[in-house]
Assembly symmetry: C2
DNA sequence: CTATATGCAAATAGTTTGCCTGTTA
DNA sequence: TAACAGGCAAACTATTTGCATATAG
């Protein structure tokens, strides 16, 4: 896939539109903040982050924007035990590793493994989404 | 494995003790309620259920008991998006299927599949727990 | 008897809602 | 300009905490 085909190279408004999301400045800012730092912030963290670009945005709007983005498959929501929902703009199928120190890492998941998981279910199950979460201790690299 | 070896056949207090949990009547009642109906209740649902046996129990105590049971690996906590934590006394490695109607089903997961998932991670990752959640539509069987 | 668990009520965290105003197509 | 989105404050739900009393080893 060519660089010019990646989601990042298109104007944000166009990307939102293509996914059925009416582009507003808040939605663009929220989405942009997830694309830039490709990490896994909570709604609160997104809020803190976007206040610089959009000082008048409210937390409720951040929640709404994230919701719309999740609903329209531009963003994934990730849930760990005893932790607020985190958001992730990585659309490639992948698992999450939740470090004991609180870090969240993307773990690549080849199609073969996903197929094997789906095969655990009888064929009359209609699977919309598969979520794989690891929990443990990751080596420090900083 | 013989029937007499299953967890259910031992006095509850003994099982708790063996797992390092000081047996109190509340802990026994909470754990028993999970063993009897092998489903996936929330803390609130456990509370409602155990009030019959233990009318003076408090919701905070139910949370505490569930916590202790989870901490000591007698019970698993299951988290789905936008849903309160559910609890599960099935200790065999398994995934969960979260039906759009709200039902939660246990899905058997053979060791081979679990090993494959663990192999997605570099060997210097220390994996404590792997969680696999399916979401979608299950066929009705009632 | 000493440590630990319970029960209650109040506190907190995360998220959602209602309502009025502003913005988009 | 009609439909939809944002901002703010208040509501709500799930969960945790503090503290006095009760219970287990």
């Amino acid at each position: 896939m060519a660089e010019s085909d990646t989601i990042d190279s298109k104007p944000l408004a166009k990307v939102l539109n293509e996914h059925g999301v009416r582009p507003t400045s808040q939605r663009e800012t929220v989405y942009e903040s997830l694309l830039q730092k490709r990490d896994h912030p909570t709604a609160d963290e997104v809020f803190a982050r976007v206040r610089e670009k959009a000082p008048t945005i409210s937390l409720a709007t951040v929640y709404n924007c994230l919701d719309v983005l999740v609903q329209n498959k531009l963003v994934r929501a990730v849930n760990f035990e005893r932790a607020p929902t985190q958001y992730c703009a990585n659309l490639a199928p992948h698992a999450h590793f939740h470090d004991e120190a609180g870090r969240t890492l993307d773990i690549e998941m080849p199609t073969g493994v996903i197929d094997q998981l789906r095969d655990l279910l009888p064929s009359d199950f209609d699977v919309k989404h598969i979520e794989v979460n690891f929990h443990g201790r990751a080596p420090h690299n900083d």
